[in-house]
Symmetry: C2
Subunit: 144 residues, 2 copies
DNA sequence: TTGGTAGCGGACAAATTTGTCCGTTTTCGG
DNA sequence: CCGAAAACGGACAAATTTGTCCGCTACCAA
């Protein structure tokens, strides 16, 4: 479904959102430990998220990652997925055909339509913050 | 969504089914040309499908690939996907967590549930033959 | 029987994804 | 100002996926 990088990215974003909700800025080491991901690789992904203004980063001692109130309100799951993978997951053809559309459909086009649409809607209407809340309440986990 | 190998596999299976519907056995070169795929790589994939009895292969001159009447009636899209990728696409956790289930859900677990279920149902209820029919009727394409 | 044809299977090669290392830059606290 | 701490950025390494090559085997037709 998603690439490893994207999985790590989502998990990291959700964890950062949870900590930011508590007013806590969190560092790379802490994040990698919390989401059970390779530290250096996770750093690369966080850089992408930061460059695309989905999260905030700061250097130096006391530095780390956080999400602003505005980011917590506006950053959707689809933003993270689009930044790391692309939007091809929910827009591209299921059989990899470049020119597949309603006029020139692949044999799976109609069968896939509903699923892709549902996936798209889910990603675009789910905020990272919502996911963080289910973490915070203990209703969900991010490890193992 | 699917791997390249799986995309080629599905496209090849659909094309073979279409030709078999016409009573025509078709060779590797013909298949690769019809579905616009790398020939040698496609050969590997067809071997997998053949070993798993999803298609029939025969050597020698006049050899090639085909689907028996029985295979045309029973082989589902899910069989091809399971053979080449795995069933992880519609059973695994969206965030890659090994121990994610209803008891210990990842934050996306419930959001994903419906989509995975719909995908699973679609793959399991769609026969390769059905897809071949939409090709045969000109309602769908397999190239580009 | 024999020659050619087509799939089989193993080894190899290229490309992409995943993951690591380390020096540099920024920033904070003393 | 200075030293340490943390993210940044570029180069490198490993693993996986994608793709190729070629000799081998089976099979058909003449």
């Amino acid at each position: 479904m998603f690439s490893k990088a994207c999985e790590y990215g989502i998990r990291a974003a959700v964890y950062i959102a949870q900590q930011s909700g508590r007013g806590v800025r969190t560092g790379l080491k802490d994040i990698a430990e919390a989401i059970d991901s390779p530290e250096a690789f996770t750093a690369k992904i966080l850089q992408q998220l930061s460059k695309n203004d989905l999260i905030q980063s700061s250097k130096g001692p006391t530095g780390g990652f956080e999400m602003t109130a505005h980011q917590l309100q506006t950053v959707m799951l689809s933003d993270v997925v689009r930044t790391i993978d692309s939007n091809l997951i929910y827009t591209g053809c299921g059989l990899g055909l470049a020119n597949c559309d309603a006029q020139n459909p692949c044999p799976l086009h109609h069968e896939f339509m509903g699923i892709r649409e549902q996936l798209k809607t889910m990603l675009e209407t789910t905020a990272i913050r919502q996911l963080a809340e289910s973490l915070e309440s203990g209703a969900a986990i991010l490890k193992r």
